[in-house]
Point group: D2
Chain length 347, copies 4
Amino acid sequence: MLNFLNDYEYGCIPEIIDLMEKVNNQTFSPFGKDPYTKWAREIVQSKMPNTKVDIHFVYGGTLANLVMVRSALKSYESIIAVDTAHVTRGEAGAVEATGHKIVVIKSVDAKLTKKTIREAYLTQMAHPGHMTYPKAVFMSNATEYGTAYTRKEIEDIRAVCDEFGMYLIMDGIRLGSALMSNGVDYTLDDIARWCDMFVLGGTKYGALFGEAVCISNPELQTNFRFAMKQSGAIFEKGWLLGIQFVGLFKDDAFYKVAQHELEMADQLQKLLLELKYPLYIKSTTNQIFIYVTPEEREYLKKYVLFEDWEMNEYYIAIRFVTSWRTTLEEIQQLTVILKQAKQYKKN
Amino acid sequence: MLNFLNDYEYGCIPEIIDLMEKVNNQTFSPFGKDPYTKWAREIVQSKMPNTKVDIHFVYGGTLANLVMVRSALKSYESIIAVDTAHVTRGEAGAVEATGHKIVVIKSVDAKLTKKTIREAYLTQMAHPGHMTYPKAVFMSNATEYGTAYTRKEIEDIRAVCDEFGMYLIMDGIRLGSALMSNGVDYTLDDIARWCDMFVLGGTKYGALFGEAVCISNPELQTNFRFAMKQSGAIFEKGWLLGIQFVGLFKDDAFYKVAQHELEMADQLQKLLLELKYPLYIKSTTNQIFIYVTPEEREYLKKYVLFEDWEMNEYYIAIRFVTSWRTTLEEIQQLTVILKQAKQYKKN
Amino acid sequence: MLNFLNDYEYGCIPEIIDLMEKVNNQTFSPFGKDPYTKWAREIVQSKMPNTKVDIHFVYGGTLANLVMVRSALKSYESIIAVDTAHVTRGEAGAVEATGHKIVVIKSVDAKLTKKTIREAYLTQMAHPGHMTYPKAVFMSNATEYGTAYTRKEIEDIRAVCDEFGMYLIMDGIRLGSALMSNGVDYTLDDIARWCDMFVLGGTKYGALFGEAVCISNPELQTNFRFAMKQSGAIFEKGWLLGIQFVGLFKDDAFYKVAQHELEMADQLQKLLLELKYPLYIKSTTNQIFIYVTPEEREYLKKYVLFEDWEMNEYYIAIRFVTSWRTTLEEIQQLTVILKQAKQYKKN
Amino acid sequence: MLNFLNDYEYGCIPEIIDLMEKVNNQTFSPFGKDPYTKWAREIVQSKMPNTKVDIHFVYGGTLANLVMVRSALKSYESIIAVDTAHVTRGEAGAVEATGHKIVVIKSVDAKLTKKTIREAYLTQMAHPGHMTYPKAVFMSNATEYGTAYTRKEIEDIRAVCDEFGMYLIMDGIRLGSALMSNGVDYTLDDIARWCDMFVLGGTKYGALFGEAVCISNPELQTNFRFAMKQSGAIFEKGWLLGIQFVGLFKDDAFYKVAQHELEMADQLQKLLLELKYPLYIKSTTNQIFIYVTPEEREYLKKYVLFEDWEMNEYYIAIRFVTSWRTTLEEIQQLTVILKQAKQYKKN
């Protein structure tokens, strides 16, 4: 069975499993006070030479997001996010469970825009004290629909944040895909400058687990570990998280994996267009979305794992994701199956 | 200056202020263990002869809403409500501050429908454990846009609740207006039967303050006062709340006030139609909404207090509210001003 | 039946009920934007000429306390309070419900001391990030056991707060009793200077309801109303709260009531000593605590309402509270009964 | 440098690292829907043949504890725990951050007793609705001070829980040490029967990470994964957690490690007694506590890593912990150093 279901269904890249074996008999201080965590911080920081960031490693994405929100906001403050954001609809109310409202706005290509942010802010503040105080813009980059923000878009959003005194927080669980995306000309260094706080995701790029919370804004750096502990987010054997990021960044495996995922996805999207499968959305990252007929879907289900993205009375949209383990051979096999699906007639 | 701004800008009806004076020199057990609270409970219960309800008095609406949600839900459960609901956009994130998400759905005439509830529920439960568990439908009746639910609509919603094991909770801060609304054929007794828990509002009908939380569902009756105390919602001199509801219900002042507000509003809406002011929404309660031109608005502002309901680049909608103190004379005066506004030309 | 149960079992002083009647037919802006609220703020501020405070009126004490904590603290911050504090054991977990821990320390005469605060702070910070970050000292003055802090004690506590960067928050639900207490030489003006934020209670001094939250620290003044609304603490007919404090402060009824309560209590405490009732604690405010035998208690129960403060296998302690309605005649009657109780033999 | 600092400063046992390598190139369904998680559940369940438990794997202890509390309790309910419990003083307010109070009682040998639980419950319920509703007893076994509960003690506590309708929840992060403790005659099967919900810890027994939450009470089994997701506690590559518990339980490594830690600790405690070091508390698990003089401490610091447990003006208590990697040789070396420390004179 071909597998295009997700990018977190595999173990880790060799660099990481090798390190884990190597150090398994060693002794380390717990809670992240070990040399690997230190080293990981230094390498990640070196990718952002112009901004001093505090870096904390957390095992997973939802936990990283909720700790960021909890640590940055006062009780009556809210975040602004789009309806399609993971934080809005994929985290079982984790943000609300910390007591904060998500002011939800309708996305354009799964993105926030300066216009929609501005409107959301002004609406909340039209009757100060009756609604929440929007204190942070919370954006996913890459988005959950495979798009990546352009430099111009992020700069515009940063400008709105500055205008209204809001933080810019980025869920970068697939930030690697955004950075490698065609047409994207910014780097991690730009991200660190634009955002007050962001997640640099490891899990989707060949780590076993682990996301790095990077905090650029000094006023958000204070006491972050209290918020982590309060949320159960301090890893006992913290060096394991350090090792993930040493493995990802010491020889740029992170970028190579992201690049590989993107090339595979790019190939796939081109082939899909040639095969006349209509795109649900134009992706520039490692998640590809197409419309299929019920027959096509039925045929594909026999040979390929993929996610049903949206199914309703009008259409079916499905998603393919490429991972660090996806090969060109698999793309070719998928192409054959997709071709056959076009001919398939349901009995 | 004529005042059509709101229905809570006045003191209380004579029945209540007289009682307050009368008992001011008496001594009472605090925290609601007094004869007036007991009496108030009995009279309110008598309006719902077929359903045994627990009744608790709370000083205000937002507090009543948040206590209901907090007491009824487990941490991971959410409520379903419309975008226009007070609980969604007028309470500064009070529900989220108790840790619960509001699953927001787009309203039709400020109402929930069985269709939109069903969709919202199924979407949340499509990937169980990734989204919240919707455990209650939270509806305002009358709505914030002056509409009232019909018997059929509520019965349909109750049926969806039963199908999915959800509670039906009603924010009845203006329930009096709904009950007196033209075309509404249900009573408080029906409400008690349909809802698991609801607010019966006093403030908008001539009380100084106070809303009654009525709990029909025995499993929600247990320990409600713990949730109240935890929220700071136990009134020390509780008899004052009892007195409000004795005053409202012992000779049906509640219904008379609601009826009066409705008649005044009805008159006003008819006159507005005669004057060719387009309705923003067809109201059947004491809140009336029309579109006005910038010139009309400017003229009205000189002589009348009202609320700007929605102002954008396309149109202006304003709201008039009638209260227990509104007189026919005031309606007539407003009519004259509205006529003049039509002729007004900005210099 | 004589009533020494509490100081909130009566209506309000004449100054207030008269005002309420007088304005009942008037129209006011809701939510505290009315002339009475403005006036009340001005009079209360005039009692603290040397410190500019923001003043917000809330209907009750638990709600005032939880809003203060929620508005002042970040998620991982805690408050330090004694085991006997109302906030610790009389509010059903209201502080914890806002997500904050109370670091509880054993009281000395129901008071915090600089020594116990210092120890509590240092313990929490011994392993930074494993325990909470204590950000506020939360003290009741007068205490729940009838004692009042001296100038020296508060100045010492303020010094510890300054040393560790903590706020000083005061639950002054019975602040009037502290201010009038024998041996207390400070004023409301000192309180405003010492505390970052405090409650000035009205309910116990002849108001129908209402406590004033006074905020001296400018960094805590910002956005306080958001925290209020989020907690359901914005009164719709806000002028009613304004009226309470106008009534209490325009001719110093507040101080007179507090003084009267104190004199009555003082008389009572002296008589109790003469009658050889052992004091449970030496009170300097309007709450008096004595030990009684089971027989004495049984006799007293027949003629007097009072609270059983502590009952265990070793002793019984009971509490008498004087109120603005307590008369000298009642004290004399109580004395007689207390004398008889000494002679009473259980059959 | 000898290391007796903790039992979580090492990698994992060979059984686990081998499995991790073996499966690193395989593909798995995420979120715990993989064969290793299934297998792990089956083996763990097989240790509790008489009680059907739901088993969920969480990466760490604080997170496990907060998810248990959040999922089991309604908003106004509290847990009863001792002052020395990790949940009380080592988790940065994680329980309170879920909105629940910990009713703290003074421990006897770091333990709860039926007497102290009963008192705590009755005190909270003396004025129902003014304090919290204690709904769960939360006990650590083994305790944080190296003691383990006896069968009798747990049965007594269970009886109090039954009497008052409370859940019994166990933080078993070091449950292995309790089960292997001298004098303990109960098994995991008994624990499952006594507790409504408990943590079976893996990290302290040679896992890289991971604790199992076991739920015996069917009414607490429902929807637990919602509470997990809401807390960021669903591991993406869930098979890694499964592997930890397969490694620990398929050939009983868990019990062997626990047994080994205990034997090492037992040896050490005996030697300490021979050397006349006074015990701070009599331990029956893998944590050993002694009093030392400042000179002894100073000397030990040069050669051994250990934790300063309590330091005050009266005494110094320190802790040694044995781990799965501790050898008899290390115990012997430590003995020599401890002997030398006795002779050491500070210059």
